[in-house]
Symmetry: C2
Subunit: 208 residues, 2 copies
């Protein structure tokens, strides 16, 4: 990559980082080129040169947020050993990412999902696909823990992933709504108790 | 109430009903007098006469949605006998209200919470208060079930209410995001299993 191209890529990344922060607070629907230009003190024409349209800016912002999510949640979660510890690590990594305020307004994807769930179109389709992948990651981790004998054989990975994700999402909402960190403890307790209830003796030892 | 006043109140109610539907799809933040006037084919000045400002319109819409929520969720839930059946009935009533599309875009309060959780101000304060009341209703129902010996004595009402609400909220999001009714079954299964896990023998009989 030439120096100029590398600098262009860095500029684009820092624009998209600011866009994702802004969208996590004010919403992705309101993320127009004009609004972002005002936030960054840049010219609208400069941003148009980068993104072309509001929808392209929204899609580029989602893609940039996906990279952050992979680094902050998926990678540390998958670093744990296969089994119930990996399921637990994915949940902990999500809660840590919200608690540390990686995005100013909370989980970028939760906010985007809530905003676009009832608005069909390419933006919703991409968000739905991201959400499916995340649920797929949780489900695979659950299935892995069943295979290695740490969760009971009859465990339904889709159902368990849904229940874990429910606790994680709710902690994200309630923490921001009430400004109360106790909701992270509630979610951690819910995840731990739910995993214990499905664990085999080997799984319970792994969770200690 | 005179005929003219009654008609005025009905007009106001039907405006606010349309406003709540619109907010559940497009968001409460975007609910301006201009946007609502366009949706209803009314004049902006007519709506100004009713509400005065965007914020007053938002607050009146929340109040109107609260009445709907009380009729559709709280009242049928509290109609069940005190005990674990009442906890279960509150959860079922919530899921039914979402599944029947009482508001076009899903639960009005979930959407409003997601939108305003990171935006301090009077609108967020009112939404936070509504959410606290709903959680309080669930907690009281849980505490009642503990008192009448249907849930185990050590049950933490705040924790259990959080876990139940997590499943309900997530069904609301995922149903709208993916257009898949199976998420209601996931939530019903989660609620039932969670209540069973905390139930005494009397509680388990009540849940059958």
């Amino acid at each position: 990559m030439s120096g100029a191209t590398a600098q262009g890529a860095r500029t684009r990344q820092s624009i998209l980082g600011a866009a994702a922060d802004l969208a996590s607070v004010e919403g992705l629907a309101g993320l127009s080129i004009g609004r972002l230009a005002a936030e960054l003190g840049m010219s609208k024409s400069g941003l148009f040169a980068h993104f072309g349209s509001k929808e392209q800016l929204q899609l580029a912002t989602i893609e940039s947020a996906r990279h952050v999510y992979v680094e902050e949640v998926i990678r540390p979660g998958l670093a744990a050993d296969r089994g119930v510890r990996r399921v637990s690590a994915l949940c902990s990594a999500f809660l840590s990412y919200v608690e540390r305020g990686v995005f100013k307004g909370g989980c970028f994807f939760a906010a985007a999902m809530a905003e676009f769930d009832a608005r069909p179109g390419p933006v919703r389709d991409v968000i739905a696909e991201m959400q499916r992948r995340w649920m797929g990651t949780l489900e695979q981790a659950v299935a892995g823990a069943v295979e290695c004998g740490e969760l009971a054989a009859g465990t339904d990975p889709g159902q368990l992933a849904f229940e874990l994700e429910a606790a994680l999402l709710s902690a994200n909402w309630y923490y921001h709504l009430h400004g109360d960190r106790d909701f992270f403890d509630r979610a951690r307790l819910a995840v731990h108790a739910r995993l214990l209830s499905a664990a085999t003796p080997a799984g319970r030892r792994a969770l200690l």
